[in-house]
């Protein structure tokens, strides 16, 4: 509590003062309207675990009311980054930007233990920025899964060396693909029927390794709805994980490369099928707003980003999801949906996926209580904050079970894996299956 004293400033305080947007801090007028929207506040009931509390902590640090201690750093990392507080905020405070600025300052300041440093470097600088290296990871994973290594790891108990939450995640990882969407189907796909617009698919780095089929299905849905699809080969990771983990410069570099690639493709829309990727793509303008050389192109890019559901509903030809042999049986199949937080709260798209699901013949859509609440996946949150993520997932699965749905659909790979994990953990396997909305729609598309 060194208010007004003249002592050398804490170096992290200095960094936070430089990074945090003072206007946004001031714009929070502490009305508290964000509190009911915040998952960590709902779980703990503690003011410090709320958006209002976290902003007050950031402001207290920049005002010199408090020194940023370990508890402060932990609190900033305890936020899921789901950004449900933003649509709830009448004042329009950009909380997502503030939390990323805080994390960026903390990361910049931090001296990680050598092992963590090496892991972060490997992930953020060596692998994610390079799609061809991602593919090697995919091939490695595929080798592990197919060669018998995985079976051996499970049989010998070697997996027990890892903490439970990592073991759980390993279990539900889908089979990785050695070849991405472009290698499998090529990079240019004409529209079926009259062309409405030309769109570029953002394939995503994890999506293209773990969910390549979803990317292929996305292309099918788009062409069927009247869009010509191109898949720029040079595109790379969106930078979301970098931005959320305090690696802002890494995220900016990825953004510049993506902008260059997509600009060259000259398309009407840039389509994403992963809420987490789409959200950061739609915020490239903010990410590069201080970069005079890239600012205008970033705006061009951000304006064109759209989620597949939104594009289909708003501009596409109406698709026929009534394939006779798909459903089987006369009873309608119950389906429900878990919002991708970033699709809902950043891209502000929650009606479009629901509209599409309601169009499926032979399916009955039921809304899940708290579908708009984060599932606890939150990028890599379920790996970094397993306790809170587990608590949130428990509550989520109670609501999922109550829907009695056979399919739990989502719009983002992280959410999808978390839902698969939840279904397994809560003994719902066999009764409920987690599926990407694109795959579900594709399955029922009358081609």
């Amino acid at each position: 509590m060194a208010n007004g004293q003249t002592q050398p400033m804490n170096p992290l305080t200095e960094k936070l003062r430089l990074r945090l947007d003072e206007d946004q801090l001031t714009n929070c007028m502490r009305c508290g309207f964000c509190l009911p929207a915040c998952p960590t506040f709902a779980e703990t009931g503690l003011e410090a675990e709320s958006p209002r509390g976290r902003i007050a902590l950031m402001k207290a640090v920049t005002d010199g009311l408090m020194a940023p201690d370990q508890a402060f750093e932990d609190q900033m990392n305890h936020c899921l980054g789901c950004r449900a507080c933003e649509p709830a905020c009448p004042a329009g405070v950009k909380y997502g930007q503030l939390i990323e600025q805080a994390r960026d300052a903390i990361e910049d300041h931090k001296r990680h233990k050598p092992l963590v440093r090496a892991a972060r470097h490997a992930a953020f600088k060596t692998v994610f920025p390079h799609q061809n290296r991602m593919k090697w990871v995919g091939r490695g994973l595929r080798f592990y899964q197919k060669s018998g290594l995985r079976a051996a790891a499970h049989a010998t108990g070697a997996m027990k060396l890892f903490p439970k939450h990592l073991r759980d995640m390993e279990k539900i990882l889908p089979d990785a693909a050695g070849r991405g969407v472009v290698e499998q189907i090529g990079d240019r796909h004409p529209a079926k029927g009259e062309k409405i617009a030309t769109v570029a698919l953002f394939r995503g780095c994890i999506m293209d390794v773990l969910f390549t089929d979803t990317n292929i299905h996305t292309v099918d849905l788009l062409t069927a709805a009247g869009f010509e699809v191109v898949i720029p080969r040079e595109q790379n990771c969106c930078g979301a994980l970098h931005a959320h983990s305090g690696e802002a410069e890494g995220a900016r570099e990825l953004a510049r490369r993506n902008i260059q690639t997509f600009k060259a493709a000259g398309v009407d829309y840039i389509v994403s099928n992963a809420g987490g990727c789409g959200a950061i793509l739609s915020e490239y303008d903010h990410l590069l707003h201080e970069d005079p050389q890239w600012r205008d192109d970033a705006v061009w890019f951000a304006e064109r980003v759209v989620d597949i559901s939104d594009l289909l509903v708003r501009f596409g030809r109406k698709l026929d999801f009534g394939r006779d042999d798909a459903a089987g049986g006369t009873e309608p199949v119950r389906i429900t949906y878990q919002d991708s937080c970033h699709l809902r709260n950043v891209m502000r798209s929650s009606d479009a996926p629901r509209k599409l699901m309601r169009q499926v013949e032979g399916a009955q859509y039921v809304e899940m209580t708290g579908a708009d609440r984060c599932c606890g996946s939150a990028g890599i949150y379920n790996i970094t904050q397993p306790a809170m993520a587990g608590q949130i997932l428990d509550h989520k699965m109670e609501h999922a079970e109550a829907t009695q749905a056979s399919y739990l659909l989502t719009s983002n790979p992280g959410c999808l894996l978390q839902m698969k994990h939840g279904i397994e953990e809560h003994g719902l396997s066999g009764r409920m299956e987690a599926v990407h909305i694109v795959d579900f729609l594709h399955e029922r598309l009358n081609k």
């Binding site: 007028m29 007050a56 009311l65 508890a71 009448p90 004042a91």
Partner: protein
């Protein structure tokens, strides 16, 4: 800083998880919804029962440590800012509905219960709890009782005080009192229930409340009247009342408020209108239809540009939810919004609106007006920037004149937000010196050491009243 022995004693009552004095806890309990006020407490405690509250109070009164009861910290008068340090007592763990009595139509609840959750639960049982402060999604029943919160339904259904019929409260000494009960009539002595409602945490810590529930209205209709002239809208308000119609809700929003609310809620409100009225009537269908027809006539006679009826209950609810965001949404214009809740007799609404705009112009400050026009409770809101000291001084001068004008028109300095810190310098203007003496004597008999929410309601000094000579 919390003395070690005090901390030890508190921990022996609550356990170490519920006694906090780390910087993070202190900072996050140093503010509430009031702009520009912040003061760190020395500790934060989270009791779970009346008995714990009583034992805590015994410790704190022995050591003469101030205590501020806190719900969700959404009040707008500085009511939960621990201006003299001490302990902030957060009531969130005491959040249960203890009983809904379907024979007596009452609910008995703990103070930390969320208002909206309570309201929704009551409605699911086919009953109705009308108080609906704009912060109801976040606020607690205990906080509502401490501040005597109003809301959008005040003109027809009254405010929190009209629904609290019994209380359990812990005094500064740690003694527990019970007032009222499940009784529709009770004149046994002074009405301590009503005295505690709106006492802003300065007399006791409320630990349980018995609330009156009523049957819900059978039918509802919501309409929107739009005006090119602000005063036409204001005159409509007085004229509806003159026509002996008391709507369930009668809200006014001026142009600036319409713009920011629409920017947030995306309802497609008409941005070229100088004012809109949101009017809701409820009751039996026939009576509602008749009232709505008369109100429509009144709106037309005051030259409403358009009058429309909400197509569905969902559309009506969206409109009211958007209205509840008005105060915060105004922060879209400038970072700091300072809102007041000067209240006048309903017949004086148009005069008050004229006064507010005159005063804003005189002091060259931006003041937007919205509020519960139907009960005379306006929320003139200055949009400003706390970092601009010179402008803030002008805002303060303007508000001083607005208080003055409200009192001159037969009104009050605060209709529903409470005195707290913000309006304490003006309280004497409203209640007079003898009134102040009585209030101080009441405070002293409840809390002789001034430990309960010190620095609130009673100012060190009353502002000198500048009476403006009109003519």
């Amino acid at each position: 800083m919390l003395q070690e022995e005090v901390k030890r004693e508190l921990i022996s009552i609550l356990g170490s998880a519920y006694v906090k004095d780390d910087p993070q806890s202190l900072v996050t309990h140093s503010y509430d919804g009031t702009p520009m006020l912040q003061s760190l407490p020395d500790g934060v405690v989270y009791p779970s029962s009346t008995e714990e509250v009583s034992r805590i109070m015994k410790v704190l009164s022995r050591y003469k440590i101030p205590v501020v009861g806190r719900g969700s910290g959404t009040n707008l008068c500085g009511g939960t800012v621990p201006v003299q340090g001490g302990i902030v007592m957060v009531m969130h763990r005491m959040n249960r509905i203890l009983e809904i009595d379907l024979e007596n139509l009452t609910a008995t609840v703990q103070p930390g219960l969320n208002t909206k959750q309570f309201s929704t639960h009551v409605e699911s049982l086919g009953l109705f709890y009308p108080p609906d402060p704009s912060s109801m999604a976040i606020s607690t029943i205990g906080g509502n009782i401490a501040e005597c919160s109003g809301g959008l339904r005040g003109l027809k259904y009254g405010t929190t005080k009209d629904y609290v019929i019994g209380l359990e409260a812990v005094l500064a000494s740690g003694d527990v009192i019970r007032t009222g009960g499940k009784l529709m009539k009770d004149v046994a002595g002074y009405d301590l229930t009503k005295l505690l409602v709106g006492s802003e945490g300065t007399l006791a810590i409320i630990t349980e409340a018995t609330l009156k529930l009523i049957p819900p209205p059978r039918y509802k209709k919501t309409m929107l009247a739009m005006y090119k002239d602000l005063y036409g809208a204001a005159r409509t308000v007085s004229k509806i009342i003159e026509n002996r119609i008391i709507p369930a809700t009668l809200e006014i929003l001026d142009n600036a408020t319409i713009r920011v609310v629409d920017d947030f809620a995306k309802l497609g409100l008409p941005l070229d209108m100088e004012a809109i009225l949101i009017i809701e009537q409820d009751g039996d269908q026939e009576a509602v239809e008749r009232d709505i027809a008369i109100i429509t006539e009144v709106c037309r006679s005051e030259h409403a540009d358009q009058v429309s009826i909400a197509a569905s209950p969902e559309e009506a609810e969206k409109l009211l939810t958007a209205r509840r965001s008005a105060f915060t949404a105004l922060a879209r214009l400038r970072p700091t919004t300072i809102l007041e809740d000067a209240t006048v007799p309903r017949s004086k609404i148009a005069d008050m609106v004229i006064e507010i705009n005159r005063i804003a112009k005189k002091h060259q400050v931006q003041i937007s007006t919205f509020g519960h026009a139907g009960d005379g409770n306006l929320h003139p809101t200055a949009t400003t920037d706390a970092r601009n000291k010179e402008e803030i001084a002008r805002v303060e001068e303007a508000f001083e004149e607005i208080f003055e004008a409200a009192i001159r028109l037969g009104g009050t300095i605060t209709g529903e937000h409470g005195v707290g810190m913000v309006k304490s310098p003006y309280l004497e203007w409203k209640v007079g010196p003898a009134g102040m003496d009585v209030m101080k004597a009441i405070k002293n008999s409840f809390d002789p050491d001034h430990l309960l929410n010190p620095g609130k309601v009673f100012a060190k000094e009353t502002r000198k009243r500048v009476v403006i000579q009109r003519g």
